[in-house]
């Protein structure tokens, strides 16, 4: 069978990102004849999560040939260098997790071991302050990173805060221009092959039948195809991630937006703040087992820094993922594949990864277990690694102001996370892996930012005179302090991007930490 007709169900961020990317590669004049049809209903709202993104999105745009300044204008974007986490380690603490590295290895030994040595003697600044991206964020500065690998200016990457609905709208235009057909309608019925169970066609409420060879389910939490039709099954991670509801509300724009997302821990759950050019996105993520909806909504409004511009709307979810994302001839992408709260802005990243993996494994002739297996293995790894990293934020806390935090601190955690933490606690070692999103630089920021100080560190650092180590760290901090102070203000960088038709910006790196990362 030649998979010539691709049907995408759902037109939110996931649906239109998928449509745009597939159109870019499938609907080419000299290639085999494919068609892509996206079915969506104006009557079904989109969740619009993922307004804060990761640097990988730049690579996705680059792949689609989208100019960055055009993208900034189209999506009301601001630059993003980091996420600030107030209240996570303890109620009065705060740290920043940047898209950047902290310090340099010295003599082949990771920087944080030197920091740990000085920490024990109280002669050191907070760990995150050895990252240039953090200093830029604190000073509301922004400038493109350098591609000179020897420069401290190459030690960070950047992403965006975007209006996800505007991004979906922009991608819709992009995809339709390339030939994607959009059909308005709600699915009433799904036809399956009686023998193999493959999906054959969608039947809309209007009676229209949309046949296809490969179906992409971007229908959101419900998973109309992957779950309602194919009964794939869902693995709940709620016992590790107990938050199951959120209220979201926009508020007024700010004139000088911070180049970072804020994720403030609250008595039960946490509140996000995402500054865009035209508004500020806010939300409160909480566990219904520990706080009722009314109180949650009230806390959200009380926590706003600007006036709300609309009524809060509620989202309900269960953290977890489908047992498999690609089942028979249906690939789930986005919320239909799984849900992990947007604490580390991973929603759009997980969509992007699924799309890129699908492009790599695209079954242009038949569908076999080989590509399904490769796709599912990869996505499982990605979801599980993001999951562990998010659980870490909850688990490593010293808050005693609610049962919620006490539960998070004492709950059992996945073995894969427990083993990593055990290693860090013992000797300050951080596990690195090749597949998956968060590398040691991120783990260290959260471990040390939330006050998890290991009982040991690499003893080899004791062999250097302490004054030399202290001087090195002080010099490094002075250098990044000076460099970050010289940079333009973030709001000016946004204005410049809006003014210049096509930007000249650095090539995207497929990691969180820029060229050097």
């Amino acid at each position: 069978m030649l998979n010539r007709k691709v049907v995408i169900l759902g037109g939110g961020t996931a649906g239109w990102m998928t449509a745009a990317a597939l159109a870019r590669y499938l609907l080419v004049p000299h290639g085999p004849m494919y068609s892509i049809e996206l079915v969506e209903s104006d009557g079904i709202g989109t969740v619009g999560v993922g307004e804060a993104t990761l640097p990988h999105l730049r690579q996705f745009n680059e792949m689609l040939g989208i100019d960055e300044n055009t993208f900034i204008r189209a999506t009301g974007a601001t630059y993003k260098l980091a996420i600030q986490f107030p209240g996570w380690g303890s109620a009065c603490s705060s740290y920043i997790h940047p898209f950047g590295l902290a310090g340099h290895d010295i003599n082949g030994i990771d920087f944080h071991h030197y920091w740990l040595r000085l920490y024990n003697s109280g002669r050191v600044s907070p760990y995150d302050e050895y990252s240039i991206a953090v200093l830029m964020a604190q000073k509301f500065k922004f400038q493109y990173p350098s591609d000179d690998i020897d420069s401290v200016l190459a030690e960070y990457g950047y992403a965006f805060h975007i209006d996800a609905s505007l991004y979906a709208k922009y991608l819709r235009e992009y995809a339709e221009k390339l030939g994607v057909k959009r059909t308005e309608g709600k699915v009433a019925q799904v036809h399956q092959d009686e023998e193999c169970g493959n999906i054959q066609a969608l039947v809309l409420e209007s009676g229209e039948t949309i046949p296809g060879d490969l179906f992409i389910d971007c229908s959101g939490f419900r998973g109309v195809l992957i779950e309602d039709t194919l009964k794939t099954g869902y693995e709940s991670w709620q016992h590790w991630l107990p938050c199951d509801r959120a209220f979201a509300v926009p508020s007024q724009r700010v004139n000088s937006p911070p180049p970072y997302t804020r994720a403030s821990a609250k008595k039960v759950g946490w509140q996000w703040r995402i500054p865009l050019q035209h508004r500020t996105g806010n939300g409160y993520v909480y566990s219904s087992a520990y706080i009722n909806d009314e109180d949650a909504e009230r806390l959200l409004i009380e926590g706003l820094e600007e006036d709300a511009t609309a009524e809060p709307r509620q989202l309900r979810f269960v953290a977890g993922k489908r047992h498999i994302s690609w089942n028979k001839n249906c690939v789930a992408i986005g919320l239909s594949a799984g849900f992990l709260e947007p604490l580390e802005s991973t929603s759009i990243y997980l969509i992007q990864i699924a799309i890129q993996k699908l492009i790599e494994c695209f079954p242009s002739a038949g569908i076999t277990d080989v590509e399904r297996g490769a796709f599912n293995r990869h996505l499982n790894t990605e979801y599980e690694r993001v999951r562990d990293f998010i659980i870490l934020h909850y688990h490593v806390n010293r808050r005693d102001d609610s049962d919620f935090w006490r539960y998070c601190r004492t709950m059992s955690i996945p073995d894969s996370l427990a083993e990593k933490m055990e290693l860090f606690r013992e000797n300050g070692r951080v596990v690195s892996y090749r597949k998956g999103l968060f590398m040691p630089a991120s783990w260290l920021m959260v471990y040390l930012g939330q006050g998890l100080i290991p009982s040991g560190y690499d003893k080899r650092v004791d062999w250097f005179p302490i004054e030399e180590v202290e001087r090195y760290l002080a010099n490094y901090k002075a250098l990044i302090d000076e460099e970050s102070s010289k940079m333009p203000d973030h709001h000016l960088a946004i204005s410049k991007a809006n003014e210049i038709e096509h930007g000249v910006y650095p090539r995207a790196a497929f990691n969180l930490y820029g060229v050097k990362g």
């Binding site: 870019r24 080419v28 000299h30 695209f362 079954p363 080989v370």
Partner: protein, 491 residues
């Protein structure tokens, strides 16, 4: 029990593995901080006559502050661009370097595979490897520092006379302050109440005390004491329990900048040219053929008179957990896949580098130990899969025996056959392009190609690939003869 710091490390072993372990530890830890005692235990086993490295030799030299030129000179060395294979009448090359002339473009491997599938010309994957083209003509050059694209394509290792290499390392170790002790045997191992090895008795009067131990000895003196009788894992496909070593005086030496592996009726024959000699390693099963028959067979294949150097027996298999208590068990006693693909030294080197990553602040350190073993196991399984591929190729196309082989290996093969891809491994033991080269070389052809290639018109792809092929051929033709390069390199 009370935790203790590691102030002294005792290494038991012999030959090049002992010297390399001592050198890496001494250089990275500094003997003024941690004393390194190398206990050279007399071995009945033949020392490996030749050591063929991969590109890791450059970072190793850098790490040890060794001059590669001096090392190659003193060890009669030659250069190595990869491995040349001949099996079932087919020949192919597995390069260390990348395919194409990488200037940062992604997806070149897929583009080459698609091109090869579209054209019925004589072109082969080797045509897109500068290393393969150079090796076929016995040419070699080191790319200049500013030629990044050539550096990637011409990534190289070296072939060294192992005895000389060992001497070179030992001399470096002694300069760094490593203490060497030569002994005939270890008479007793002493443990404390916590089950940690505290000292080894070497004779009536002499003993060595250390906080941490590394056992690379042939008869696993310490390993047997700390591993509580756990035996090696061994798969049924693992064959080649004996290696016979031969050399010839070099009159037929073509100075191939590679290791040449040929499948014969009795097993694999590995041929390595160093400056003054050609070395042969015959990997076979002792029950099936004896040394004299192997020798005759090699003489008939190579048309050369060869000299028997010695034999090594392999206890095939691997241990998944090699750090127990305060002892790290390395060498062939912990992993042995027969020496055809990976040398004993390569595993020891990798393990010591990993150990330094998990270097314990103090003992006990259960989490460090656990993660070291996990990391070790990952490396060994990646190596096992690649070795299994060498066993798989022997019967490839004759019958369906996938069930015999590790599932991870058969999944990799299926993925390559379907999508022309190799999953990124979690270790550096074998690069994806080495898998690709081997799979393609043995005759596997992908069915599908990445959608990313749809952006390029087929004619455009063909024309750019033909241009690339011709550029590579031109570059290879312009490279100096390997022999000439070596003599220039040392002058």
């Amino acid at each position: 029990m009370k935790a203790f710091e590691v102030r002294t490390i005792g290494i038991l072993g012999s030959g090049i593995c002992l010297d390399m372990a001592a050198a890496l530890l001494a250089k990275n830890l500094g003997v003024k901080n941690v004393s390194i005692i190398a206990v050279n235990v007399k071995s009945d086993m033949l020392d490996y006559p030749v050591e063929s490295t991969g590109p890791e030799i450059s970072p190793i030299c850098e790490m040890l502050n060794l001059n590669l030129r001096d090392l190659v000179t003193s060890a009669n060395g030659s250069f190595r661009l990869g491995t040349s294979y001949t099996c079932n009448g087919v020949s192919w090359f597995v390069p260390f370097g990348s395919y194409g002339l990488d200037r940062g473009e992604s997806g070149i491997d897929q583009a080459i595979l698609k091109y090869l599938s579209m054209t019925n010309s004589e072109a082969s994957l080797d045509d897109f490897s500068l290393a393969a083209q150079a090796a076929k003509q016995s040419r070699f050059a080191i790319a200049g520092a500013e030629r990044e694209e050539l550096k990637n394509a011409l990534d190289y290792g070296v072939n060294l006379e192992a005895g000389q290499y060992s001497k070179y390392l030992r001399s470096a170790c002694k300069k760094m302050g490593v203490r060497y002790v030569d002994v005939d045997k270890v008479s007793k191992v002493i443990f404390d109440n916590g089950g940690y090895i505290t000292k080894v008795l070497l004779g009536q009067d002499e003993n060595i005390t250390a906080d941490f131990w590394i056992d690379i000895s042939d008869n696993s003196i310490l390993t047997r004491k700390v591993s509580h009788g756990v035996v090696k894992q061994r798969d049924s496909w693992l064959t080649g329990d004996v290696s016979y070593f031969f050399s010839s005086d070099g009159h037929d030496n073509h100075m191939l900048p590679a290791v040449d592996c040929r499948r014969t009726s009795w097993g694999w024959l590995k041929v390595t040219d160093i400056q003054t000699q050609t070395m042969y390693e015959a990997s076979c099963n002792e029950e099936q053929i004896n040394r004299v028959e192997v020798e005759r067979s090699i003489e008939s294949i190579t048309k050369s008179k060869i000299r028997f150097l010695g034999v090594r027996h392999h206890d095939l298999g691997w241990h998944s957990s090699v750090w127990n208590s305060n002892c790290l068990s390395l060498g062939n006693s912990s992993v042995d896949f027969g020496g055809m693909v990976f040398s004993e030294l390569s595993f020891v080197q990798a393990a010591i580098v990993t150990f330094l990553d998990f270097y314990p602040a103090e003992i006990p350190c259960p989490a460090n130990m656990k993660w070291f073993n996990k990391s070790w196991n990952r490396q060994v399984l990646d190596a096992r899969d690649y070795c299994a591929l060498h066993a798989y190729v022997e019967s490839y196309g004759t019958n369906d025996n996938d069930g015999l082989f590790p599932q991870e290996m058969t999944e990799r093969i299926k993925l390559f056959r379907r999508l022309g891809k190799v999953e990124e491994p979690e270790s550096d033991v074998v690069l994806p392009r080495q898998w690709m080269a081997f799979c393609y070389g043995m005759g596997l052809r992908p069915e599908l190609f990445s959608l990313a290639l749809n952006k390029i018109d087929d004619n455009q792809l063909i024309s750019s690939m033909e241009k690339l092929r011709s550029t590579i051929a031109g570059l290879a033709n312009g490279m100096p003869d390997h022999k000439e390069f070596v003599s220039r390199f040392f002058s």
